[in-house]
Structures are given as structure tokens and as C-alpha cells.
Amino acid sequence: MRPAPSSVDATQDLLAEGRYVADRSLATALFLALKLGRPLFLEGEAGVGKTEIAKVLGDTLGRRLVRLQCYEGLDVASAVYEWNYPRQMLEIRLAEAGGEANRDALAKDIFAESFLIRRPLLQALEPHPAGPAVLLIDELDRTDEPFEAFLLEVLSDFQITIPELGTIKAEEPPIVIITSNRTREIHDALKRRCFYHWVDYPDARREAEIIEARLPGIPERLTAEIVGFVQRLRKTDLFKLPGVAETLDWTQALTTLDRLELDPRTINDTLGALLKYQDDIAKIQGSAAERLLADVKNEVAANQAVGV
């Protein structure tokens, strides 16, 4: 297990090691969160790399990743712990058959740790030989307010109380990353305890770097065209703009089809990798795509002439 980075630059290098290209603002927010032991709250559109940060952190710091995927109605039984009832029932029956009459002893046996089913939050707080975990609370906006309130408590004390076992407290708090797609506004009380960062779409240069880091060996010209095209798409008025994940998908699709440069037909055929709404596809397909592509080609040619 590696220690946390000691500066913003080190944080950026650490992420780069995990093939994650972060801009300065994100690296700063992450560095502060690690340094001050606060959760990092990442909000942004789908597919800009929020969840990926937690995975990369786990990998590079050599910590285990505990992931809590949120959904509406998530409760303590599926987020923290649950007792293994069938086994407990069996235990009671066995005790009866064996003529065990000591009630207190039985209760102790029944609610022993071996009957406990650990859910993500408990896993993240329990002492572990591999050291503290990276706790990823994914898509928190999908839960409802009661769970948020409960989480507030957990994140302030890093302890959980199970009536039969007592209080379980993390020796060293885990690194907490919370992500949200903003399908509802998270309550201010929770945001206040975190470092907040809005993860935005990358600019052209950074997007090219991301493609380079994630899918090495793509011809430079194709990368430039892909990035140019996607960047222009994000300036058009679409219902759902393509994220970085879509860019990478599309790049992979194009290399699978052995394309070395973009042409209108290929774009029309593979637009489904970029745009996920029929209205958007209908809007871009055909003439609009051709126009965008012509712009991109001109730009790439100009850059090459200058030798950028």
C-alpha cells in the first residue's frame, strides 16, 4: 500500500500512472480530499470519468475498492449488513435438538459474526489486513433522502452500530469518493462535508491525451479527427452530449472497422456509438455530419501544415 500523494503534481502523476488524464482542478480537489481526509464529491454528466477515478485510485495506491451502487430505496440491509436468517434458524433448531437450554448463550451464538453478511459500507469500515479501502459510493442521486441522512452520519464518524455486536469503527477512515449524475440535487448538508468538483467534458488537447493513454497506438491523424468531431458535436444542440466514454467506444469501433480516417459513410454507420437518442442521431446524420467533418478535416490539415 502506497502513502497518499504529497502534492497536486504528485496526485496528477499518480492518476497518470493509472492511465487517467486529469486536469489541474480535479487533481487539486482530489489532493485536498486525500490530505484532509474528507470525501470527494464528483458531479457531472454521464461518461466523463467519475467512477473511473475511484478505480484508478484503488489500483495505484494498492488499496481494495469497495463499491456501493446506489438505487432508489436502498436500505441498511443491503448497504450495511444483514443477518443470515436461514442459518440462524438452523442453529436454533440444532440447539433445541441438543437440549441446549441456556438462553443467553444461544443468543450469543446466533448473533455471532459468522452469521453476519457484510455489505459494502461495513466492508469499507472494518479493519482489514490490506489496510483502509477506497469506498466508492456510485450514483448517490439515485437513492432517496433518508439514505442520504444515514450516510451523513456514517461519513462523519466512520462508525456503524449493530445492536447485537456493538459499534464497529474504522481504525483509519477509508478514502471516500461519491459520484452523482445529478438526476436530483443532493442535499447541501452532505455536500458541505465533502470537497465538491464538477467534472466537465475535456478540451480537445486533453481528450487526445485520454485516447492516447487508454487506447495506445491509434494513428495521430485519426485521433485528431475523432477529437475534432466529438468536440464539435458537443457544441451542437443535442439532448445528450457524447461523454469521454462514448469517444473511447467510438474510437474502438473505428479501429475495429480498420478505418484510418473519417469519412461521412463511416460516421453515419457508427453514430450509435456516440449518440444515444434517436432525435440526436436523426439531427446529425447525413448533411450535418458532412459539414462537421469538412470543418474537422480543414482544421487538421491546417494544423499539420503549421506543424503543430
Binding site: E72, G73, D75, A77, R103, A107, D144
Partner: protein, 415 residues
């Protein structure tokens, strides 16, 4: 914030205690009439507190009474106004004038300047004047001119709302009480203990059984919790809807304080999110904020453009978790429904249920012939007439109706 510097008042000290107690009581009654929850117990407490503090100065009097009567931040303003009006005895002022206190040269404390007084308060301080029914008051039964016109010019102005009268406040409160109706309930994944519930609660069963020492296992049961889906309101405040906007805002404020998941938007020529403004507990303060923040009162309507804005920037954020959407508009669109249909379709597909309240539908001959209304019509689950939007009850009845999401729009006439 009350400015009480230089308010030391030697005269208050000289008031006979009996008379003073009476004044405190009258003051408390004025506060109660203005809507602050002040009971007789509080008056006694105030007298005791004043006794403890002593009648040293006006400032002490202010803060002592403040400590007793105010227990929410939004009551502060009302208290402040009431105090300054009530305890400004003209006789006291005259005596002060004779003493020629230098502070009185401050324009702020000159008795000439009448501060703007909350309407609730002036009613409370002058109870013999009947509330409402002044000559300029709008009639209750509104005769709508169904002429399909609207102003072409966007009017950018901050509207100064007439404040809520005590009678209206009472009515709104009653309406809120009626609002606690089973609005369409949807099941959640959570459970609550219920002896007659359909499922076995094993965790509880075992805990209970262990209390008995495992001798017997009687089953504890549980049932799914149901809750109301979030509600999102899109309300038209263009010129043709202006006569309703005030009552609708009262209604939205009532709803906001009643429900946990509620978002409100106003649109005319642009879209404004007023959810946070409405979270103020005091209705006057809330409406005043809305009036400040919304810029396109009573201008034209660009329904298409506003819906587009909503779809792009807000729909994913507020329509999650299966929200019910309530649109309040007459469908008269300046741009004659341009681009409206596509946006309505998108809107309809991203919410649980779309209810359209249309004040024009009270006319028997009404048919959605205006281009805007025509474009909206196919994408609405329920289209309701609201006979009289001034009356909150119609709205409540529309909202508490449980109905399935239908493919064919249903037109029902509110009784």
C-alpha cells in the same frame, strides 16, 4: 435587522406597571392577529421576562419581547415592524421632540417617514377594518376574455406582489390541511413493520425469538412503504394568465411546505426555477423573493423555447424518480407552437404522468384550436379544466386524483 441605536427611552420606564402590562397584552394580540403563534402563556412569559430584565430601555424591551415572541427566523421581520409601529406612541414622540434629541435629525427615525408595512400587520393593528373587499379588488368569479391575444413585447419588470391578507392566509392554511390527501402512491423498496403485512420480517422475528430464548418463533411481519412521487410544476405567468398567477403562487407555496419532493418553475418568455424561493416558511417573504427573481411577468409566452430549456437543463435533474408533472397554462403561444410538439413529446416521455390544467376549458365550446394548444394536446395524460383558478380546491382535487398513465389523453371536466 432592527436599528435600535439611540433608542433609549426614559419614558417607558415611567409608565405605570398596570398600564404597561396591558400594552404588552395588546401588542401580543396584534402579533397573534398578524399570524404569529402567540398564546396567553407567552404574554405571561413576556411580562415575567420584562420583570427580570427591568424596564431600562427601549432596546431591552425590544430584545426581551423578541426573545419571547419570535422563534423562527422568518417571523423576525413581522415582529420588527409590529414593534416599531406599536410602541411608537405619538405622545412619547412629542415629548422626545421637546427634548430635541439629536438622533431625531436622522431621517431614519423621523416620524414623518412611513415605512412600508406588511398588509397582514396593518389589518392586525386595525381590526375594525374589514380585510379584502376594497374597491380595486379583483372579483372572485373571473370572466375570462377568450380572445386569443397576448402581448408581443416582452415586459421585463419586477412585479410587486400584493401581500397576502390574513383571511387569504387562513384559507391557504385550510387548503394545506386538505392537501394531505393520498396523492398517487407508489411502492418503494423499503419496508415498515406491520402486524398484518404480507411479508415475514426475519430480522425482527429472530430478535424477538431470542428475547424468548428461542423457545418459540412467532413471525413478525412487514409491509412495503408507499410514498408519493415527486411533483414538478411548470406554470405559465404570461399576460393571458396574469390574473391567476398570484393564487397559483400561494398554492405552490402551500404545496412546497407540505411535500418533501417538489419543484416549481415559472415560464413566460423564459424559464425560472423558483423552488428555493418558495421554501421560505413565511408566504409573504417567499412571494416577495419570487417577484424579485422572475423577470418576465405578464409578457408574452414562448412555450416551445421554455420547454426546450427545461428539457435540456432541468428535466434530468428534477424528473428523476418518476415525477408527476403539472403544467398550468392556457396554451396560447406567441410563436404559434413552433417546435412545441417535439418538446412536449420529450417531456411526456420523461415523466410518470403529465397533467395539464387549462383555465380556458371552462367554456363549453373550448377546443384546442390555438396552434400551441393543438401541439400540446396529444402529449398530455389528463387535461383538466379549472373553473376558477382563484380557488385552490379545484387544484387540490385534480392533484389527488389517482389515475393510470394512459396512451389516449383523457379529458375530464372538474366537477
Amino acid at each position: 435587522m432592527a436599528d435600535l441605536t439611540g433608542m433609549d427611552d426614559p419614558v417607558i420606564r415611567d409608565l405605570p406597571p398596570g398600564r404597561f402590562a396591558l400594552n404588552v397584552m395588546h401588542f401580543a394580540r396584534a402579533l397573534r392577529a398578524a399570524g404569529l403563534p402567540v398564546g396567553p402563556g407567552r404574554v405571561l412569559e413576556a411580562l415575567r421576562a420584562l420583570d427580570a430584565v427591568g424596564f431600562g430601555s427601549r432596546q431591552d424591551l425590544y430584545w426581551t419581547l423578541h426573545a419571547v415572541f419570535v422563534h423562527r427566523r422568518d417571523q423576525k421581520e413581522l415582529f420588527d415592524q409590529a414593534f416599531h409601529i406599536f410602541w411608537r406612541n405619538p405622545k412619547l414622540l412629542e415629548r422626545l421632540m421637546q427634548l430635541v434629541l439629536p438622533q431625531l435629525e436622522n431621517a431614519e427615525h423621523s416620524p414623518v417617514k412611513e415605512p412600508e408595512v406588511s398588509r397582514r400587520l396593518s389589518e392586525a393593528l386595525a381590526p375594525e377594518r374589514r380585510p379584502a373587499e376594497t374597491a380595486g379588488e379583483e372579483q372572485q368569479e373571473v370572466e375570462l376574455d377568450a380572445v386569443m391575444t397576448f402581448s408581443d413585447r416582452e415586459m421585463l419588470q419586477a412585479k410587486d406582489f400584493e401581500q397576502m391578507s390574513a383571511a387569504e392566509l387562513e384559507e391557504a392554511k385550510r387548503a394545506i390541511r386538505r392537501l394531505r390527501l393520498p396523492l398517487m402512491q407508489v411502492p418503494t423498496r423499503r419496508f415498515r413493520p406491520d402486524p398484518a403485512g404480507p411479508r415475514v420480517d426475519l430480522r425482527q422475528t429472530l430478535r424477538r425469538s431470542m428475547r424468548e430464548g428461542g423457545a418459540s418463533i412467532d413471525l413478525a411481519r412487514k409491509r412495503r412503504i408507499v410514498r408519493t412521487p415527486p411533483l414538478v410544476v411548470l406554470c405559465d405567468i404570461s399576460g393571458s394568465m396574469s390574473r391567476y398567477s398570484r393564487m397559483i403562487l400561494h398554492f405552490l407555496h402551500a404545496l412546497t411546505s407540505d411535500r418533501e419532493r417538489m419543484h416549481s418553475f415559472l415560464f413566460g418568455t423564459r424559464l425560472t426555477n423558483i423552488t428555493r424561493d418558495l421554501r421560505q416558511r413565511d408566504v409573504d417573504v417567499a412571494l416577495e423573493r419570487v417577484g424579485r427573481n422572475v423577470e418576465d411577468w405578464e409578457g408574452g409566452t414562448r412555450i416551445g423555447a421554455c420547454l426546450r430549456d427545461f428539457n435540456r437543463n432541468w428535466s434530468r435533474r428534477v424528473l428523476g424518480q418518476g415525477a408527476v408533472l403539472l403544467m398550468i397554462t392556457d396554451g396560447l403561444d406567441r410563436e404559434a407552437g413552433a417546435g412545441l410538439e417535439a418538446e412536449m413529446e420529450r417531456l411526456h416521455k420523461s415523466c410518470r404522468r403529465l397533467i395539464w390544467l387549462n383555465p380556458l376549458m371552462r367554456y363549453d365550446q373550448y377546443a384546442p384550436i390555438a396552434a400551441g394548444a393543438k401541439a400540446m394536446r396529444p402529449h398530455v395524460d389528463v387535461m383538466h379544466s379549472v373553473h376558477n383558478l382563484d380557488c385552490l380546491e379545484d387544484l387540490v382535487s385534480v392533484l389527488s386524483e389517482v389515475g393510470p398513465r394512459t396512451a389516449e389523453p383523457v379529458t375530464s371536466l372538474a366537477a
